[in-house]
Symmetry: C2
Subunit: 246 residues, 2 copies
DNA sequence: CCGAGCTTGTGCACGCGTTCTCAAAGTGTG
DNA sequence: CACACTTTGAGAACGCGTGCACAAGCTCGG
């Protein structure tokens, strides 16, 4: 039986915990979660714009590129500070710098992938981690037949060495691509080894202690959600959901 | 230039469009988007419970298994109808049936994957589409060197035949795993061929016309969000986000 | 048949996020 | 310098989703 209590534990939910704390030196106000989730969109849009030698960009144009509306862009950016100039727009270069600083993309994040199956292998080879800073440095698997196997320029390490390797590479971000059954145990071991951010691809509910963040990407769930709306579509109603950003 | 206007277009947003419509025969009330996103969690939890020959389950237990809280479970399930018995709980078998009907999992959905790179290949081989009903029937790529190549028991089809093949297989759900640059064009072609649900893995903003739904899964963005909170963690604050369900 | 003990279903209050709207603040021209 | 035009930044209203709290309803034992 897993210890599930910590996940969204009843009376002391995340929403309650972070009330007025969370005003760090770098950010004037607390940045809403929804805004954080959109910053990468702005970042990407600005990167593309920057390559075209455009010096300044309006909230309207940026909104168009990021696929949101202009009011949202302005409010989001205002959380970072007043980086725009009225009547002109935002300085692309400067805004890019501020956002990447805010997102921690000026740093380099070493990443470990645990579970080198179909998905893990694909992630290991995936060049498109967009704005780099995320360097996959460690591949871990439980299957002895895989250990030592070369993928790209990395070789797969046994899960027995998880703790050591994660510590040696100073890894803070782990990617979980194991089967559902192993997810919770691997998550626990990652956390024990000092990992404080986990991206979980395993189709399983999985809990982490306070102070560790975890985001879940579940293909089956995404398909099932699509299926729900797909089903209604034929039978009369219009489909509500367009795109998800959160 | 892509036609971006349709995405979350200003004054006529999705939120405004689906006001009081959306009460289909199968569902007594309009089911909130957030609830729809959690139904697959309940579905999975119930499947595991059902295998253990448990006849009935309380909202509390189901909440624990799904990683949410009990009040939410009850409210969510009440949108489907009053399928529980006070003092007893929910009949596992029956609830399972109702949820899978609601999610359209009683049907079979043929799926096409476009873009057979690292990720596309992994998805093609991925057995874990959980509760099946989602059968990958078509693999499409633009690279002539890949066309005809066998993956599992499917062979890759040229993108020139996209329209024909999608129609022949009666495909309603498409998975987009192309590079960013090709995403919008491929999405347009899928829609033109009759696809009305798209799961988009390409790291690009991409719009679809009204009546088509699209969900986006973006690895780079997920990592950047983790990075944001990871960054703060060291410098004093506690980390707000635990797990995402939406 | 009654009362104790559970468990569901829902009304209600609250908080977050979105959008509208408009004053404030910049640019450029004559 | 004044005026027209552009664009940001934020105050306010609204709607959705969450969680609490409790009445309604079921089971079981005596």
């Amino acid at each position: 039986m897993h210890k599930l209590g910590t996940l969204q534990a009843g009376p002391c939910s995340a929403a309650e915990r972070r009330k007025d704390i969370w005003v760090t030196a770098s950010s004037r106000r607390r940045i809403p979660e929804a805004t954080v989730a959109r910053l990468p969109l702005y970042y990407r849009a600005l990167m593309e714009t920057g390559e075209r030698q455009v010096a300044t960009i309006s909230s309207e144009r940026l909104a168009e590129l990021a696929g949101v509306n202009a009011a949202k862009v302005r409010k989001d950016l205002s959380y970072l500070g007043s980086y725009g100039t009225r009547g002109v727009g935002y300085d692309v270069e400067y805004l890019l710098h501020e956002i990447s600083r805010e997102l921690g993309l000026t740093r380099d994040w070493p990443v470990a992938i645990v579970g080198i199956g179909n998905l893990g292998r694909a992630l290991a080879n995936y060049r498109g981690f967009g704005a780099r800073g995320f360097r996959v440095e460690v591949l871990i698997d439980a299957d002895p037949a895989l250990v030592g196997h070369q993928i790209g320029d990395l070789s797969v390490v046994s899960i027995d060495d998880l703790d050591r390797v994660v510590r040696e590479h100073n890894i803070a971000i782990g990617i979980l691509a194991t089967p559902a059954g192993a997810a919770q145990e691997v998550a626990d071991r990652l956390v024990a080894a000092g990992v404080t951010s986990i991206l979980n691809f395993a189709p399983a509910v999985c809990s982490v202690p306070e102070g560790v963040s975890m985001r879940k990407v579940d293909l089956a769930i995404e398909l099932q959600i699509l299926s729900f709306y797909q089903l209604r579509r034929g039978t009369g109603g219009t489909a509500p959901p367009r795109e998800r950003t959160g």
